[in-house]
């Protein structure tokens, strides 16, 4: 196990300021598309096989890309976009979350029914936990105590207590749970249930289901509504949910849990990212190979930018 004393990390970032660029891993294109703040593709970088999850390190000086078909996590320098390291031997990484200590990366291993923990400084494998088949979304609480992992095939949300070093609960949710969002007060965990076409809400204190939000944009059949990624704004007032094959993003009022709008985007919308000012929402459309950018005030799409094959997720370098 990891010893409790973890080196304090320097949080100084290089003098280079953030670029405002968005980085998009293209799952089938084996590439990263770089979008400038004026919404142009300014660079396409060849990367590893089947890049999916993407996440900054603690000080945002570098970012991690999960390479599912290479069984590794690639580390890129944010400023230069150069490959600076690899964590090898990570079985089919899908998504991951970084522990608040900045050292531990918790990874879902899609084909191994496990969530594994790696030290991002040394690349060392620390431990793993048995999950249901096809683990997907990973979410660490800000106090660093709990990790939530969704198992797509088992319809479970696993709750890992890192201090107890154990899975302390398996919460049954609706069909095919995919991703998470925590409300800013971390009282509620929102889980997208892809095939049920809803978001389940888990009370983090009791670890019980306390609510559902169903979605159905006009003109779609329920089975076409397949929510995947979701984000909640910093003030905890609004949530955005990518509805997959329903080709829309749902806008939800968080306090009332009511859908207030549906915004038309590209085909099979999955990955989402908000800019730091939350004025723009980026949406990765897996089956139309583009990224739609939504103006969050008017709730209108302002651009759709072609990227590589099957964009999966989005990371924005603006904070």
């Amino acid at each position: 196990m990891l010893v409790s004393a973890i080196m304090a990390l320097s949080v100084t970032r290089n003098a280079t300021a953030e670029t405002g660029n968005a980085i998009v891993p293209n799952e089938r294109g084996d590439s990263l598309s770089i979008l400038s703040p004026d919404l142009e593709v300014i660079q396409t970088i060849e990367t590893c096989a089947r890049p999916r999850g993407i996440h900054f390190n603690a000080d945002r000086s570098s970012f991690f890309v999960g390479c599912a078909d290479d069984d590794m996590i690639a580390i890129y320098d944010t400023a230069t976009l150069e490959l600076v390291g690899r964590i090898r031997g990570v079985s089919a990484p899908e998504t991951f979350d970084l522990h608040p200590d900045g050292r531990r990366l918790i990874v879902s291993n899609e084909e191994d029914a496990a969530a594994s923990v790696y030290d991002v400084e040394t690349g060392e494998f620390l431990t793993d936990y048995l999950t249901g088949e096809e683990p997907e979304g990973v979410q660490v609480t800000s106090d660093g105590r709990l990790v939530f992992v969704a198992s797509e095939a088992a319809n479970l949300v696993h709750v890992i207590d890192l201090e107890a070093d154990a899975v302390i609960a398996d919460i049954l949710v609706d069909t095919r749970p995919r991703r998470f969002a925590l409300t800013p007060d971390e009282a509620e965990l929102w889980v997208s249930a892809e095939l049920a076409g809803i978001v389940n809400i888990i009370d983090v204190g009791t670890l019980k289901l306390v609510g559902d939000i169903p979605f159905l944009p006009t003109g779609f059949r329920p089975e076409q509504v397949t929510p995947v990624d979701l984000v909640i704004t910093a003030d905890g007032q609004r949530a955005y949910v990518a509805l997959g094959r329903a080709n829309h993003v749902a806008v939800v009022d968080v306090p009332t849990r009511k859908v207030i709008d549906y915004v038309l985007v590209g085909s099979r919308a999955w990955g989402l990212a908000l800019t730091v000012d939350e004025k723009r929402l980026f949406v990765a459309n897996g089956l139309s190979d583009d990224v739609t950018v939504i103006d969050t005030e008017s709730l209108k799409p302002i651009a759709s930018i072609p990227v590589g094959r099957v964009p999966y997720d989005i990371l924005i370098d603006d904070r």
Binding site: E133, E134, E152, A154, H158, I198, L207, E223
Partner: protein, 385 residues
Amino acid sequence: MIARVFACLMLLTCPAVAQDVAAIAYLGLEDDPYYEPQPVYTGLSLRDRERPLDGARLGVRDSRVLGRALGVKFELIEVLATPEGFTDVLSDLKATQPLAILIDLPAKLMAQAVAETGSDDLLINIRDGSDRWRGPDCAPHLLHTAPSDAMRSDALAQYLRSRGWDDVLLVHGPTEADIAQAATARTSAAKFGLKIVDQRAFELTNDPRRRNKSNIALLTGGARYDTVWLIDDQGDFGRYLPYATYAPRPVIGSEGLGPHAWHWTFERYGAPQLNQRFRRVADRDMSSDDWAAWVATKVIAEAVVGAGTADRGAVHRALRAPELSVDLYKGVRGNFRDWDGQLRQPILLATQNAVIAVAPIDGFEHQFDTLDTLGPDRDDSTCKR
């Protein structure tokens, strides 16, 4: 609304939950000719089949962690019977009270299994696509995860209709299965507005007096059509049809584009994960039969979740409930038709190495569930259960 059990098992705080055992049985035939190599010529075997036990095993394995959450241990009982000892084996198996028996049997023994079990038992047919089991020979305690021939045939017909390839030359073989499936194809064609321009039977013969039944140019000439719909259960003749037809038209059905429950190249809806998981345990590609066995264990696990217990009666009710909602890895959730016990499911239309379309094809609508555009609908069913 979506029915669900609000269950949360806190393993640390209440660890003393007794583990229920949820047993699922697989019943097959020893030395089943269906799984024997089927050579058509020296050293040449066209359609070797593998017993779908690996599919059932994978399904039970997939349910391990779900079982951890439910306090239920899923187990697979694997039984192979001989025709002589069949009655005894079945009665022993019934006595162990499994939640369900997956039956992988030739038609004759399947009829026997259905007759020798009753309302207290539950059989899940994972192999036989014949429409008789969903029609005149259906039974209240018989469910099917293998798609029916009618569903597969409807899927193909929908695709042809959606492409506007309306004129079909139906070419079929001489076996009983070929003739039954040709009738099914005609029904599908009528259902979706295709025109069968002609129906022709082939024969495996070199007799020059019957060359109109064996010469492919003659067999496919003298008619105008968009596609040749081939029905050849054995496969020895049909493989020579593509690229040899009189008119330059695609061959579909038994060769070329065919309707399948599953395909090893399917790329959507989590299918690659299932295919890779299967390949890792079985060291071969997942077949439609494997999928039917796998999904049978999955529906049972899902019914245990729905019932909130491994009690047989409750699980059987949950299995038949309209609220059952099983991730089929084909993009939609499935449950069983209450009129004939058939699992609702999409059908993949695939060539040997690509899935071209998934039926129901966009545009085919239904008043309740688009999946019911495939196979006999409630009002058309001849099943009197």
